[in-house]
Amino acid sequence: MKRLFFRAFALTMLFAGAAAFGQGRAADGQGNAPAVQAKAVSAGAMTVQVGRAQIWQAPSVVAPVLASLAYKDKVVVLGSSEGWAKVQVPGSAKVGYMFMSALTQRPVSSSAAEAAVPGITASEIALAGKGFNDSVEESFRKSTHIDYAFVDAMEAYAFPADEAAGFLSGAGGDGTP
């Protein structure tokens, strides 16, 4: 009974914590909850948190592209302004600009999963990250038979940033892909 009480107590604490952070996130308004900050990030180093991220020569999407970075790539940030991060182009002396929202100071995946222990399964990786990822999606699709065809079809419409920006200003007026 004593244990039962403490189990209930611990669970109460848990939900109190979750609710408090849920509210914090909602109130923040930017969708950027303060949450748990990364502890071991060297000064200026940030990680790419999106699938693909470009580095432009100037803070503009119509500037020439200097480099393309992939998910989890590291980059040295020299400064930031108006949503742009000024960065050191990896493996080069050049300096360029990328969207701040492409970067995070937090580790983007579980270090346990990244340790690549021989024999580690996809399911263990998914659970080590305790996140929703492609393995979870695969399992979800198998169990529900939900159809993703239309989702994949709409994701196929992806235009480079300079083309989309140019379109707003009147380029490509015929609307063809």
Partner: protein, 339 residues
Amino acid sequence: MQRFPAFRAPRLPAILAILAGVCLCLTSCLTIDESMGSLASNALSAGVLDQYQATMLKLAAQAAADAARQITPEEEYYVGRAVAASIFAVYKPYDCPELAAYLNRLGQGLALSSPRPAIYAGYHFAVLDSPEVNAFASPGGHILVTRGLLARVGSEDELAAALAHEISHVALGHGLASVQGMRIAQIASDYAIGAGKSSGGELEAFSSAFGEAIAELAKIILFSGYSQGFELQADREARAILGRSGYDPNALAGLVAKLPARGEESGGGFAATHPAPISRLEALRDAPFEPVSQRARGMRFWPAPRADETAAAAIGAAPDPVRTYYIRAERFAAMRALF
């Protein structure tokens, strides 16, 4: 049977004190598992808790920290894909590649001026073949508008306003903020506290929990709608996106005025999922709107030559705004035939 030893009078104040301490930790920016863990250790050494109780507290602290950890853009994307697939199970897409390309170019261009131009797999747009006036946004950047909504749109500026409103829901994280305090946090916590400690079937258990979270989020997006606060916030952000993208910021109010009010027949789910148009217009009227400076606009597209000479030299001159105006009007007229 043993009678609740933990409730013995001398211990209750001590536990309340720990609770108060924990609440304090939650409101500050301390790392939650550390602060709660040390509280548990202190309580243990002070003899308030026994070893088992202290361990349970530490476990709960760890679970709360996991639950509170920010959802990553990658997770938003996978949640968003599942939500979009759920919406496609209710509404069929409108098969018109030309219109889809137009919408995606326009929407992806607008998203560049949102507070979050880079998300995990970018913003994508599709039309739903329904006469209902409605629009949906998944947390992963999948934005769906109905033909019923398109029928009410009178210009490219108004279409941009509708897309910018949905882009704002994505950029501001409204989808997951609506459920994060509930299911998603709970799922992570359930797992962390040991619900899935058996050796087999964890992924299946996790994906079934994932399914529950998706069902809940899809229900909010399809039927009950976001909170009024989120809707009005998305309106304000949409107006700013329009300004930064060179569209008429007032086009949003123009569009909102044409949207169905509660009880209107063609309203469909829209009136149920959005605040009344009159409250949205009043909120827009009362919210301060700062005209967009040339510099702020240029920071995403063509920087003003004087603000950044090097950039301007690398990029070239901005297109002529008068020419832009005519091209937008002409292509919208051509596209409207496909709505």
